[in-house]
């Protein structure tokens, strides 16, 4: 009875001391394994430097190369604010090519080109406002897919409330993306949108173009 009780006390007092080095070794092994695998990713990556915009200069945004040409006010565009007296259209004329070997979709293109701080151009939240849509200049149809190997002259458009003055200058922001493996399904995707180029563009009014 006495011997049996002594054995129990000894096991009870030794158990925490046995588990402590075991847990410490396991934790150390896990940290070592993570470091071997590449270490911990920082939660916040440093913001990339935003370059100044230059008209006519090609900018590599990752999935697209975009060259901004001119920004103009359009009274109406077929399919956009057509017969709508409450809005006018701001249109950026640009050339676009897709960089990869597969089709890129127009939604990503319009999200990659934004106007910043233009009164009367509605935004969902703070920050630059992506283009509402992209149209092909050659035929006026919507560009919903950008095929690799082709160059498109396009109009990226924003609707502006006519109660706001038409701007004489507007800040254009071009947003780049990085091709990397998605942490969700491990597929390669263009992710991490971030401004790469920004600058003020002169806005041409229709009357100025006619004169």
């Amino acid at each position: 009875m006495t011997e049996s009780g002594g054995r129990l006390r000894r096991l009870g007092s030794r158990a925490p001391r046995q588990h402590l080095p075991l847990a410490g070794s396991a934790a150390g092994a896990i940290v070592l394994a993570v470091l071997v695998a590449g270490g911990f990713d920082p939660m916040e990556k440093p913001a990339a430097e935003v370059e100044p915009l230059a008209v006519g200069e090609s900018v590599d945004l990752g999935p697209f190369v975009v060259t901004a040409d001119r920004l103009r006010v359009v009274d109406e565009l077929p399919g956009v604010s057509e017969g709508d007296d409450g809005t006018r259209v701001l249109a950026l004329v640009a050339t676009v090519t897709a960089t990869g070997t597969t089709t890129q979709y127009g939604a990503m293109l319009s999200e990659s080109v934004a106007l910043d701080g233009v009164p009367g151009v509605p935004a969902d939240g703070d920050g630059p406002v992506p283009a509402d849509a992209v149209y092909v200049m050659a035929d006026g149809t919507r560009l919903d897919a950008v095929q690799p190997g082709l160059e498109y002259e396009v109009a990226l458009v924003w609707e502006q409330d006519v109660r706001a003055d038409a701007p004489s200058e507007a800040r254009l922001v071009l947003v780049g993306r990085t091709l990397r493996e998605s942490s969700i399904d491990r597929s390669m995707e263009w992710l991490d949108p971030a401004p790469v180029v920004a600058g003020d563009l002169e806005v041409t009014a229709p009357a100025e173009e006619e004169s």
Partner: protein
């Protein structure tokens, strides 16, 4: 006996630390080995590749989910989509008419593209590269569809039509895809790049249609 019992724990404490260190080393070694094996195995490229069912124009290409038969191929710099809108390209529009017959249950082939000789893939869309499946096709009833895709003229020679069910290429793994050689050459590319006659893109319709 009692002396042995007293001496044994002391011996265990002396050997405890090396045993824990060995455990940690073995754990790291196991993780590193697993990672190395994963890197060496051709998991991504070969075991997950789709099964390509191939054919040419006029062939009935059988897949797990149905049969695909290309009935005609045309091209131009202009198309007229099913809504009557004219689209103009700086490259070439390739318009493929094909018939799809679902197998087993109603199916919708949503991934339709042209793959060129370099491996580039040009997909359909809603407006610029019109293609409409017409919804789920009932099994056994042929569904006639058209797809118009714009591509650079240098992609025409050797172009193949790709058709499969899932819209996301990541989901094509280990599934059947129809790969149909359209029989196109550089001469076709040159002729179509010089043509501004719009090619009509038909909407989807059920039934065998007119015999070619």
């Amino acid at each position: 006996m009692g002396g042995r019992r007293v001496a044994h724990p002391a011996s265990g404490r002396r050997t405890g630390l090396p045993r824990q260190a060995a455990f940690a080393v073995l754990l790291v070694a196991a993780l590193a080995t697993g990672r190395a094996v994963e890197g060496l195995m051709p998991v991504d490229d070969e075991t997950e590749a789709p099964f390509e069912r191939t054919g040419g124009v006029g062939d009935r290409v059988e897949t797990r989910w149905g049969d695909v038969e290309v009935t005609s191929v045309a091209g131009s710099t202009r198309i007229e989509d099913p809504h009557g809108t004219i689209h103009v390209t700086g490259g070439v529009y390739v318009v493929v008419d094909w018939t799809y017959t679902a197998a087993g249950e109603p199916q919708v082939p949503t991934y339709v593209a042209i793959r060129d000789a370099e491996g580039r893939e040009f997909r359909t869309s809603v407006e610029r590269n019109p293609y409409s499946s017409g919804g789920a096709a009932q099994p056994g009833i042929p569904r006639r569809v058209s797809a118009a895709i714009e591509l650079p003229a240098d992609a025409v020679d050797g172009a193949r039509l790709i058709v499969t069910l899932q819209p996301n290429p990541e989901d094509h793994r280990r599934d059947d895809i129809a790969v149909i050689d359209l029989g196109l050459t550089g001469d076709d590319a040159g002729a179509w790049a010089a043509s501004d006659e719009p090619v009509e893109v038909a909407g989807a319709a059920d039934g065998p249609g007119d015999a070619p």
